[in-house]
């Protein structure tokens, strides 16, 4: 027993040590380049609770850089060197990662989720290292510092949907009554901030704000309290599973159909249809910031080619698109910086001033809305498309709708 114990334990320890050493040895080999490479940092939650979204995002980030390095020869002959780290959706890991980006002189960094970017924001702003997150919320970009949002944030989702609703759906007289049903984190808080700041202006009466947790199993009670408000439209900013629960509860209570339901992009995916059932969610509106797979846009061919070759399992995943676009934007920023300031003078500050802030109508290969930097507005792309679920399919019903800028001050 004693001997066995020692053997098992020492075996375990050895495994861990070997793994550490292996990792340490292999990660630092570099080939000399003709021109100095440009270094950027990238972090995705490829492990941990958000791995389902994070893993394909990490693949897309790296595949796109591979494409730029191999087929386009990098930027003006400078290869792009990526320091990619997995943050495991763990806030304290994210802090060690951003510190490493700063220490290793990355010029720019990207992150996937708003939660992880929130954790990285403090160090990044302090060191003036600019970065942008694929999914963002208003707390990242306002007040504007060195953190940017790649796509419209959860607040913009609300604004775009509300604008579409007022223009196309609302036919009654007076002000429509809207209620919000929000996830209890930044996904929900973004929509809440936007609605509280912008409802008045759009002519919407905000009658109730409900919150749910990610683990909810029934929202009958919270919706019951909405019954007497006689709402016209319910906006849900959440992830797919709770969104499905809210809609199901609304159907059971006989609220829906009858009112209009709109969803933010975090919850508006195929998973929503699968979880709730196509008959339940039929006619629900939602917004989403990118095109779909197989849409006819310039960047689609290469993206499909690389995805099929290196990560065929990710084909059809919407998150892959957003991260491929993210890498394209990072490359464009570096290209602008090299063009404006010269490759030898690049520092994080120069990249931000001469690259990021010079972005103007970059079309991202058509993958999502055009990217422009407007002073004071740290959102890069400001457009979403409105979709409706028809027979279990998410059908786009508009072109790019620009979300109005909302000042949360």
């Amino acid at each position: 027993m004693r001997k066995k114990t020692i053997r098992v334990l020492s075996g375990l320890m050895c495994l861990v040590l070997v793994a550490t050493l292996l990792g340490a040895c292999t990660s630092t080999t570099e080939e000399p380049e003709a021109k100095a490479p440009l270094k950027i940092g990238m972090s995705t939650p490829s492990t941990g609770v958000a791995a389902e979204k994070g893993a394909p995002m990490g693949h897309a980030n790296l595949d796109c850089i591979k494409y730029v390095n191999e087929e386009l020869g990098g930027i003006d002959g400078h290869k792009i060197e990526v320091l990619w780290l997995d943050n495991g959706y763990d806030a304290s890991k994210s802090v060690t990662i951003i510190k490493r980006f700063v220490n290793e002189d990355c010029l720019l960094f990207t992150a996937a989720s708003s939660g992880q970017m929130t954790a990285m924001m403090g160090i990044a702003n302090e060191n003036e290292l600019s970065g942008f997150a694929a999914f963002s919320s208003p707390n990242l970009t306002q007040p504007p510092q060195h953190i940017y949002g790649q796509t419209p944030d959860y607040g913009d989702d609300w604004a775009a949907f509300a604008k579409y609703y007022m223009d196309n759906i609302w036919k009654g007289s007076g002000k429509p009554k809207m209620a919000l049903h929000l996830l209890d984190n930044s996904t929900g808080a973004g929509a809440k901030m936007a609605a509280e700041a912008g409802a008045e202006e759009l002519g919407i009466e905000l009658v109730a704000i409900k919150e749910h947790s990610a683990t909810t199993t029934s929202e009958i009670a919270s919706l019951t309290t909405l019954l007497k408000e006689e709402i016209d439209v319910l906006y849900i900013s959440s992830t797919p599973a709770p969104t499905a629960i809210v809609i199901k509860s609304a159907v059971e209570l006989g609220m829906y159909p009858g009112i209009t339901i709109g969803c933010g992009h975090a919850g508006f995916t195929k998973a929503l249809v699968d979880l709730a059932g196509a008959d339940i969610v039929d006619g629900v509106y939602g917004v989403y910031p990118t095109v779909g797979w197989e849409d006819d846009v310039p960047a689609m061919a290469k993206m499909t080619e690389y995805c099929q070759e290196y990560h065929p399992g990710d084909y059809g995943n919407m998150d892959y698109i957003i991260s491929w676009a993210q890498s394209l934007i990072a490359v464009e920023i570096l290209r602008l910086a090299v063009e404006n300031a010269g490759a030898d003078n690049l520092t994080p500050q120069v990249v931000e001033e001469q690259g990021l802030k010079k972005l103007k109508n970059f079309d991202v290969g058509g993958l999502h809305g055009p990217v422009t930097y407007v002073p004071g507005d740290n959102r890069l792309s400001k457009s979403v498309r409105v979709f409706q679920i028809q027979d279990g399919v998410l059908e786009p019903i508009t072109g790019w709708v620009e979300a109005p800028f909302i000042n949360y001050e």
């Binding site: 791995a51 389902e52 890991k93 990662i97 220490n103 954790a119 160090i123 302090e126 707390n139």
Partner: protein
């Protein structure tokens, strides 16, 4: 304490000394030299080292509470959160100096810990475990919703720690702060265990009824244990907040609380070295996965199944906890003792 053959204690001071022989002192000085020069050559590992240092402080606190006094707490991350927010609020919103924030963080976390520890007077074991889980959830909920004070979902920015006029911005300067406090906490914990209070804790752990019969006030000592354990958590929380420069409710999940329990079990319950071993062991696995193993696997283009890395880490942690409990309930600290004994007795190891 075990001493090499031929070394005898002639005075009480010698008997109580932690560092007794020349070898002890040589090792201590060697370790101190390594630690003091660490910022020069640890590079990126420095921020990981800081995080591990903070973890050691928190784990030492939990070890006093759970390892010495036997009061299981699965809400340690919640108490760390209390410390982090206390310190952040005092320094950011009220402009108080960092040392005030640090000490108040410990005190407030200790008081909150005492409150949630009160059920321990009537219940123990599983009941207490659930009460502390409840503490974790209630604390995080309050942080999440009390937006005026804590910033809610949006979190809070925290400034770098400043001692007088000295602002400790970089990881290397914070290393000395965190390292110093960690050494102090370990020293405190080591000595606490040898006092009247420490021995009362052990008596309560081993049999609380017998302890009470012997005249140990359960009420007093259990609450003291909760206060001290959570005081350490608060200090760790404060250091964490000023190290990360930003805190939100997502930094303090229940899984962290469970991991802390895992750490002190792997390290060795009720030993001073245990939390150190446990925190370093878990910290190194966690961060070498992040910084080396996963990127290496990813760039080697071996197509891993999607859940591979994400599933493997909790599986390994869970398995380690289970295996340690079954095969080596006394943890790494015990292994270390055996190693020392073998070294001392070599070559006559039996």
């Amino acid at each position: 304490m075990d001493l090499p053959a031929g070394t005898r204690n002639y005075t009480y001071a010698q008997d109580m000394a932690i560092f007794r022989t020349k070898t002890h002192w040589t090792l201590l000085i060697g370790l101190l030299v390594v630690l003091c020069t660490a910022p020069l050559w640890w590079g990126n590992w420095l921020s990981v080292a800081n995080l591990i240092g903070i973890t050691i402080i928190a784990a030492t606190g939990l070890n006093i509470l759970t390892g010495y006094c036997g009061q299981l707490s699965i809400g340690h991350a919640g108490f760390i959160a209390v410390g982090a927010y206390t310190s952040a609020i005092l320094t950011e919103r009220f402009g108080l100096p960092f040392p005030v924030g640090l000490i108040s963080a410990g005190v407030v976390a200790g008081l909150v810990g005492m409150f949630f520890g009160m059920p321990s007077l009537r219940v123990k074991g599983f009941y207490l475990a659930i009460a502390t889980i409840a503490a974790q959830f209630i604390i995080v909920w309050v942080i999440k919703q009390w937006t005026d004070v804590t910033g809610g979902h949006m979190g809070m920015s925290v400034s770098a720690p400043a001692l007088g006029g000295l602002v400790l911005k970089s990881d290397s300067s914070q290393f000395y702060l965190i390292g110093g406090i960690a050494v102090l906490s370990i020293f405190f914990a080591k000595n606490l265990a040898r006092t009247r209070v420490g021995r009362a804790f052990v008596a309560i752990r081993d049999n609380d009824l017998a302890a009470e019969v012997m005249g140990i006030s359960l009420f007093r000592y259990k609450l003291i244990a909760f206060f001290i354990g959570c005081f350490f958590a608060g200090i760790a929380g404060s250091l964490f907040a000023h190290w990360a420069r930003f805190i939100s409710d997502e930094f303090f999940p229940l899984t962290d609380s469970i991991l802390y329990i895992g750490m002190i079990i792997i390290g060795g319950l009720g030993t001073t070295t245990g939390p150190i071993f446990g925190a370093i062991f878990i910290g190194l696995i966690k961060h070498s996965l992040t910084h080396y193993l996963v990127p290496t696997l990813e760039s080697s283009a071996i197509a891993l199944p999607a859940g591979f890395a994400s599933g493997l880490a909790p599986m390994v942690f869970g398995l380690i906890i289970i295996l340690f409990l079954i095969l080596e309930p006394r943890g790494l600290a015990h292994r270390w003792q055996l190693f020392k004994a073998a070294y001392r007795l070599w070559p006559f190891s039996y």
